[in-house]
Amino acid sequence: MNSKFHEIDPRWAWRRYEPGGESPWNKRRAAHLFRRAGFGADTALLNEAISSSPEELIEQLVVGVDSSAFTGQMNQMMRTLAAGNNPRNLASGWLYRMRYTPNPLHEKMALFWHGHFATSGAKVEQPELLLNQNELFRRHALGNFGQLVLAIARDPAMLLYLDSATNRKSHPNENFARELLELFCLGLGAYSERDIQELARCFTGWEVNQGKFRFNHYQADTGVKSIFAEHGGFTGDDGVRVVLEQPATSRFIVRKLLRFFVADGDFPEALVEPLAAQFRADGLQLAGVMRTILGSELFFSEQVAGQKVRSPVEFGIGLLCGLDATANLNMLAEELGALGQSLYFPPNVKGWDGGKSWINSATILGRGNLARRLLTNSETRFGGRKLPEYLAGQGVVEAEAGLNRLLELFVAIPIPDSSHARLLELARRGDAWADVLHAITVLPEFQLS
C-alpha cells in the first residue's frame, strides 16, 4: 500500500479539500471524518454534519466546544473509579468519556498520546497518578508539543514507569532519556548512545515524592553535558529543549500523526516534510498541523478510505456511537483487553503497534462475539430504547434501504455485490436487524476505517 503514497503529489495532498465533482460532501465523507477524528457518529449527527461545511466542522473539532459541565461530571466519576485503588477500574470511565464527549477530536488525541507516551498500570499501580497523566494528555491534546514533553518529563507516572525516579548522580538511569529520543521525539537512528548518556545526566535528581514531582538537587548532576554538539550545564528542561530543536522531532511526530489519522503504514518524506515545516514554523503547535491534515484533499480522498485497521476501542465505541447506544462499559473494557487494547495498560513502552497487529483469527472471532454481546445484551439501550424500536425510529425498516443506511453509517468502503446480496437476504427475514448488524460487524470491510 505504501508504494501508492509515493506517487501522490504533496501539493495536491495537503491542499484544502474542496467538495464537489468526484468528491462531494456527503454522509459517507462526514462519517469518515467522525471515525478518524473521533469515535464515530449516528445518523442524526451525520445529517447535522452535511448541513455544515467540512471546514466549519473541522474548526469546531480542533477548537472544541465548552464542555465544563461534562468535564465536571467526568472528573467526579474518574475520582470515584480511582478510589478503588485498582488501575483496572479506570478503563470503563475513559470509554464513557470517549462515547459521550462533546470534543471527540480532543479525546482521540488523548488516546493518541496515551499510546505515544505509553505508561502502564502494570508498573504504576496508583490510579491517581495514571489519571493525572491522562488529564495531562487531554489538556495538551492539541496544544504545544514542546510543553507536553516538558510536562511528561515531570509526570510522576512516567517517572515511575521509566525509572527516572531512581536517576541518581552517581548512577544515571538511562531509561527515560533513551525513550525520549527513540520513542517520544526523534525515532531510532537520529541520536547516539553518547547522547542518551549525556541526556540522562540532565534528568538526575528528578524524583517522585508522595505522588508528586520533586527536584532533589543533591542528586542532580550539574556538570557540563554534550548533546547533539551543544555543551552546557544543562538541566532537564534544557535537555528537552535541545531534543525538540532537532528537525527530526517535527518529522517524527507528523509521521506518527499521519499513521494514526490518515493511513496505516509509512509515509514518504515528500508528504511528511511540508507538514513538518508547518509544525516547526508554528513552534510545534499541534492545532495548525491537525487542521491541515483533517481538512486536506488526501484525507477525504479514496486513496485513504479504508486504509486503517480499526483499533479495538474504535471498533467497540464506534459501534455504540453509531447506534446512540449505552452498554455495560466494564464488560466492554474487559473485552477490549482481550482484543489487545487494555486502556491504561499498553503492552510496553512502544504503545500499541496498530495496523495489522490488531488482527488474527482469535481477534476476528472476538470482535464478532463482542458485537453480538453489545447488540443483544439486555443491558444495552439504543437511544434509550430497544434495538428494533430505535432502528424503526431511525427509518431502518424496509430491508434494502435499511441495510444501505447501516452500511453508510459503519462501513468505510463499498462491499462486494454478492456480500450485499447475502446481507439483504438476511434483512428480508424481517425479524433480525440485530443479526444484520452482527453480520456487518464481521465483514472484513467493517474492520477498516
Partner: protein
C-alpha cells in the same frame, strides 16, 4: 450420511474455488490443498517465563560448590530422581524421569548465548527473535519460518494458547498467527442462527476486486478464523483422551493441542507458556509446584499422543529466557542468571543428557557459563525437523545440535 463438519468443509472449499481471478493466490492453494496428512510435522513450544532455575531442575547433587552456594535451597542426593552419578531431576519431576526412561526426552545442558542479558524483557526478545545485536527485532524466529512455508490450508499456521500477549517468537511478516484464550473464545457466537452463520461465511468469502492490501489481509484472516472456529468445535466433540491429564492450566492447554493434532489440524506450531519462574524469594515450594506441573503435564501429553499414534510427528521443546544465579540470595530465592538446560520431547529425540553440565567453578559474573548457543537448537529444528533454511531465519550460521536421531530424514 454427511457429517456437519464434512459438509461445511466441502461447501467452504467450493466457495473458495469459485473466487474470481482477483482471489489471492494463497487462498486458492489453500482451498485446493484438501485434508491434513498424518505425516506433517508439528512443533509444540512450552515457554517457561521468568527464568527457570536450571540448577534446581537438573540438580548436580554431588557437587560441593552447589551445596555451599545454596544453604537453604540445595537438593540432596537422597531427594533427587537420579539421572546418573552426578545429576538428578528435582524430586517433583517424576513425569520427566519416566519419559527419560521411555527414551522420549533429551536434556540439553548449558544453553544460552554470549554476553547474556539479565532483563526478562530483553532476554526473552533475544530468544524469540534469535537476534542478540541491535538489529531489528520485529520478527520472531518461528514467525520467519512460518513466512517461509508454503501456505497450505485455512488452518492457522501457528496457534498460541494463553491469556498473555502473543509471544514475539510468532511475529510474522505475512502469515497471521492466532492467539486463543479458551475454546469459548474460538467459536463465533451466532445465537444458534444458521442463516446468520451462512451469511457471515459467504459475505466474507465474496471476491474483493480491490487492491487494498489491508482488506485482503483481513479477508484472509476472517476466512481462516471462521474455518478454524468450525474445526475446533468438531475436533473437541470427537476426542477421547487416552490418559488422565493432571488438573493444571498447562495440562489443559496441552490436552487441547493433542485434540487438534489428532483431528488433523494443519497447524505447524503450537505455543504455550507457563509463568512464575521468577523465584526471587522463598523459591523452594513455588519452584517445586511449577516443575511438577511442567513435568506431569508434558508427560501426559506425550503419552496421550503416543496412544493416538501421533507422537511420531510431534516435537516439543521447553525453554526459559535465562537460568538463575548459582548462589541463593538472602530471601531463600535466586536472582536472574544466564545458562540453563533446555528440554526436548518426542519419539525421534536422542534421549538422555546432551552436553556437559556447566562448571560451577568457572562462572560468568556468578552464573553458569553457556557452552551451547540456543540458536544451535533452533538450527536443528529448522533444518532437520522442518527442512527450512536455518541460516536465513537465524541471521547467521549455527551448527545444529543433533538432538534428533539420524534416521528421521
Amino acid at each position: 450420511m454427511k457429517t456437519r463438519r464434512g459438509f461445511l468443509a466441502t461447501s467452504s472449499s467450493l466457495a473458495l474455488l469459485s473466487f474470481a481471478e482477483s482471489t489471492p493466490a494463497f487462498l486458492m492453494r489453500a482451498a485446493a490443498a484438501g485434508a491434513a496428512s498424518n505425516s506433517e510435522r508439528v512443533l509444540v513450544v512450552v515457554q517457561l517465563s521468568g527464568g527457570n532455575d536450571g540448577l534446581n531442575t537438573i540438580v548436580p547433587y554431588g557437587n560441593e560448590i552447589y551445596r555451599r552456594a545454596r544453604p537453604s535451597l540445595a537438593i540432596g542426593a537422597d531427594q533427587v530422581l537420579k539421572i546418573d552419578g552426578e545429576l538428578g531431576f528435582h524430586p517433583s519431576m517424576r513425569g520427566f524421569a519416566d519419559q527419560l526412561e521411555q527414551g522420549r526426552l533429551s536434556l540439553i545442558q548449558g544453553v544460552g548465548y554470549a554476553n547474556p542479558n539479565r532483563s526478562h524483557f530483553e532476554s526473552m526478545d533475544i530468544w524469540h527473535t534469535a537476534r542478540t545485536s541491535h538489529q531489528s527485532r520485529s520478527l520472531g524466529w518461528l514467525g520467519r519460518m512460518l513466512d517461509e512455508l508454503p501456505p497450505h490450508s485455512g488452518d492457522a499456521p501457528a496457534l498460541h494458547f494463553g491469556e498473555e500477549a502473543q509471544p514475539l517468537a510468532l511475529a510474522t511478516l505475512k502469515t497471521p498467527v492466532s492467539s486463543v484464550r479458551s475454546l469459548e473464545r474460538f467459536r463465533l457466537d451466532v445465537g444458534g442462527r444458521a442463516a446468520l452463520r451462512r451469511a457471515i461465511q459467504e459475505s466474507a468469502e465474496s471476491a474483493r476486486g480491490s487492491s487494498n492490501d489491508l482488506l485482503s489481509f483481513i479477508q484472509a484472516s476472517t476466512i481462516n478464523a471462521l474455518s478454524a472456529s468450525e474445526r475446533v468445535e468438531a475436533a473437541v466433540k470427537s476426542y477421547r483422551a487416552a490418559v488422565d491429564y493432571p488438573a493444571s492450566g498447562l495440562a489443559e492447554k496441552l490436552k487441547l493441542i493433542a485434540q487438534l493434532i489428532d483431528a488433523g489440524f494443519r497447524t505447524k506450531v503450537f505455543y504455550v507458556t507457563l509463568d512464575g519462574f521468577d523465584t526471587h524469594a522463598t523459591q523452594a515450594a513455588a519452584h517445586a509446584g511449577l516443575l511438577e506441573q511442567l513435568s506431569s503435564s508434558i508427560s501426559a501429553f506425550v503419552n496421550d499422543l503416543h496412544a493416538h499414534q501421533q507422537l511420531d510427528r510431534v516435537l516439543l521443546i521447553a525453554f526459559s529466557e535465562f537460568g538463575r544465579r548459582v548462589a541463593e540470595n538472602a530471601s531463600q530465592g535466586t536472582d536472574h542468571g544466564a545458562a540453563a538446560p533446555m528440554f526436548v520431547a518426542g519419539s525421534h529425540v536422542r534421549a538422555g543428557l546432551i552436553g556437559n553440565h556447566p562448571r560451577l567453578d568457572d562462572l560468568d559474573d556468578g552464573d553458569p557459563k553457556f557452552h551451547t548457543d540456543f540458536r544451535r537448537i533452533y538450527a536443528e529444528i529448522l533444518t532437520r525437523w522442518f527442512q527450512q533454511p536455518a541460516d536465513e531465519i537465524l541471521g547467521g550460521r549455527y551448527e545444529p545440535i543433533e538432538f534428533l536421531k539420524a534416521d528421521i530424514g
